[in-house]
């Protein structure tokens, strides 16, 4: 589904990303972990063609992401608030996306209904612009937007950050439901090792732009390895 070949990103002579080969399969839940500066967000940005790779290519379903745009209809993503339109209310923003994805109003209502618990009555129908929302609520809007239009791939950067504990649990359930219903491929980066091991069946550990570990083991084993790496024994 996603293929990465000889990918390199160099900023001012510093290599921040260097991945010779990586393939992510359909219906895989792919977790990305690593310390600050490991290159997680840069990798996601290159995947989404927001940043140009210094070398190498990313293919989504055999299309080079930097040459073709068709993949964008099949990929939903939320990395940061640059991907929102901060001067709209959340309702207006979803409405705009509905038109972009050519969804019917019923489709949108059904989609947002899935998020009613997650939104906790704080998002929809309020006359408050996105720029005035709290960080947690911003994230909720971005995640719900990323899941719109039945994407086959959903890319989320730090989705659990800034969410309250009950929202974190609700988000995990939403992701699980989406995986079951649509066989969606998820790419998630996180610092929260518990969440990431729970959701993902494959975890890649990045260090200074390089893949240090690529694990498809049992949850317990992955947890142990990550614990060793991040906390030490």
């Amino acid at each position: 589904m996603i293929k990465i070949k000889n990918l390199k990103k160099v900023y001012k002579q510093v290599t921040v990303l260097d991945i010779s080969e990586l393939e992510i399969l359909r219906n895989e839940s792919f977790g990305l972990v690593g310390n600050n500066g490991a290159g997680k967000t840069t990798l996601f940005r290159i995947l989404l063609d927001l940043v140009r790779a210094t070398e190498g290519t990313v293919y989504i379903e055999d299309f080079d992401v930097s040459k073709d745009e068709n993949w964008k209809k099949r990929v939903g993503s939320y990395l940061d608030e640059h991907m929102l339109l901060s001067y709209l209310t959340p309702t207006e923003y979803f409405e705009t996306l509905r038109k972009i994805y050519e969804m019917s109003e019923t489709d949108l209502d059904q989609h947002l209904a899935k998020f009613s618990g997650f939104f906790n009555d704080e998002i929809l129908g309020k006359k408050k612009y996105i720029r005035d929302l709290s960080k947690g609520n911003l994230k909720k809007v971005g995640i719900a937007a990323a899941m719109m239009g039945n994407p086959q791939i959903i890319i989320l950067d730090e989705p659990f950050e800034n969410l309250d504990p009950s929202s974190q649990v609700r988000l995990k359930k939403l992701i699980d439901a989406e995986k079951k219903a649509n066989k969606t491929t998820f790419l998630i980066s996180s610092h929260d090792l518990t969440h990431v091991t729970e959701i993902c069946d494959r975890i890649v550990l990045l260090e200074k732009g390089k893949i240090l570990k690529d694990m498809k083991d049992s949850k317990e084993k992955m947890t142990a390895v990550l614990h060793d790496y991040f906390v030490g024994s």
Partner: protein, 495 residues
């Protein structure tokens, strides 16, 4: 502690993002400040002559005393628009173990050390030392000068209070303008010179040298009141009006007929209504609709045979000011959400086409609104029509393509007075083609045939531009798609 604060302030000013990122803008502002400074010095040195010759008064001292009030109104106005409220710095200090009152004292006292506070000192010192001293003696002249400077400080505290209390909302701008205009009108029609309110104070300061002390006490009192107000409200949400934005709905129904592109145009319209900077651009554009009155309504121009040449220029602005003004910062308006457009298929293309549609619509509305200029003659209506076609057919593409040259990010919630964020070399040079190109088409036809043929040529070229608009906008789309990484990286401010 105060010295530490001052050191921090100094560091902040030399490391300011806007200075390092926008050298050209800073140089421009610096040059402008220098010119103003030279004017002030010039006026200060020639004050006696100016008052005697220009205002035809044979008693300059009395004349100044009688008009100081008007100067203070003017001072209130320029301080209001140009001076920053010191609360912007509050956020960084409030959580530290430093007395709140100390921070507030520091911020307020620092605010008075501004070039605005010495304008009156520079302006009146030469006059006081030469003219006033020769009539009333040196001590009285110093008392007089001190009174004026202290009054200017009082104005400073009042402006800070007014600006913090009411913000620079449209309403307070209107109130300030009306006070200024009322002041001018009252003087112009000789109803009453408002200057007589303060005239006795300054006249007395020449005779009784304790007047400055009284004024100084008033200044301290105003300072103390302001200090109390700031101290009471020294909480983030109360002094900085950032998080309170009221909801404005503003969809333009007919745009939705254009599908996704219409949706993008509608989004852009909402963006304009919901940000301070874009709103003021819109407001300025509305003022420009009256630009024609200056030229068309002026009898000296109406009789001048060269006027039709100038009307080309006027008509360009009257029918196209919004797309020229707003369009020069074409992508910078979307710098905060550029990734949104990047991550949609055809997002960048529809962004550009949506803006094109909006500019055309607004130009059309401007054209309709300026139809009443037909009062000054049909020729003016025809000129407007020709330039309207030319603007939406040709000028618009020039604006878009020039503005795509190294766009810079900007904060849309800052006001637009002396705000050079987003302005680069392209924006300074843009005016040249705006002026030169219409003339380069009009003049040859005008000389070979006639004025009407010249206008027709503009209209026809414009119409061709409209017919081929798809292809012409595609040029900008291709350029943006090619440069998308550079633009998005600069908008994310990662460089």
């Amino acid at each position: 502690m105060f010295s530490e604060f001052i050191k921090l302030h100094f560091l902040r000013s030399i490391r300011s993002v806007s200075i390092s990122r926008n050298l050209l803008g800073s140089v421009f502002v610096g040059l402008f400040a220098f010119i103003i400074f030279v004017y002030i010095i010039g006026l200060a040195l020639s004050m006696k002559v100016v008052i005697e010759k220009v205002f035809e008064s044979d008693d300059p001292i009395n004349y100044i005393n009688a008009n100081l009030f008007n100067l203070f109104v003017l001072e209130f106005m320029y301080r209001f628009f140009l001076q920053k409220v010191p609360t912007f710095d509050l956020a960084g200090f409030l959580h530290l173990p430093v007395n709140r009152s100390r921070i507030v004292h520091y911020l307020l006292i620092r605010s008075i050390f501004s070039p605005f506070s010495i304008i009156f000192l520079i302006l009146f010192t030469p006059f006081a030392l030469s003219e006033v001293a020769s009539v009333h003696g040196i001590v009285s002249s110093l008392a007089w000068l001190t009174s004026i400077v202290v009054c200017s400080w009082i104005i400073h505290w009042l402006v800070l209070f007014f600006k913090t209390r009411y913000g620079d909302s449209l309403l307070s701008v209107l109130v300030i303008f009306s006070i200024g205009i009322l002041n001018v009108v009252m003087g112009y029609y000789d109803w009453m010179n408002p200057g007589i309110i303060l005239e006795p104070v300054f006249a007395m300061s020449l005779k009784s040298n304790w007047i400055p002390l009284v004024l100084f006490t008033i200044s301290l009192f105003t300072y103390y009141q302001l200090f109390k107000y700031y101290l009471k409200n020294a909480y983030l949400e109360e002094l900085t009006h950032t998080s309170s934005s009221t909801y404005v709905n503003g969809s333009i129904g007919f745009l939705s007929k254009f599908g996704l592109i219409g949706e993008m145009a509608n989004l852009e319209w909402k963006l304009i209504l919901r940000h301070k900077k874009s709103r003021s651009y819109l407001f300025i554009s509305m003022l420009f609709l009256f630009y024609g009155v200056i030229f068309y309504g002026n009898p000296t121009y109406a009789e001048d045979p060269a006027s039709p040449y100038m009307y080309i220029f006027v008509a360009t602005f009257v029918t196209g000011v919004f797309m020229i003004q707003y369009g020069q910062l074409f992508l910078s308006w979307n710098s905060a959400s550029f990734d949104f457009y990047m991550s949609r298929s055809n997002g960048l293309a529809s962004l550009i086409r949506g803006k094109y549609l909006l500019f055309v619509s607004i130009s059309f509305v401007s054209f309709l609104l300026t139809v009443p200029y037909v009062y000054y003659g049909y020729d003016i209506l025809i000129t407007h029509a020709a330039l309207f076609l030319f603007n939406i057919g040709v000028t618009i593409h020039l604006v878009i393509n020039l503005a795509l040259w190294k766009p810079k990010p900007m904060d849309l919630d800052k006001g637009s007075f002396f705000n050079y964020e987003g302005i680069g070399i392209a924006q300074y040079l843009m005016i040249i083609p705006m002026v030169v190109i219409p003339y380069s088409i009009y003049l040859p036809f005008n000389f070979m045939f006639s004025h009407q043929v010249g206008l027709a040529a503009l209209g026809i070229v414009g119409t061709f531009g409209i017919i081929f608009n798809e292809k012409l906008t595609q040029i900008a789309v291709n350029r943006l798609v090619r440069n998308r990484y550079i633009v998005s990286t600069s908008f994310r401010q990662e460089l």
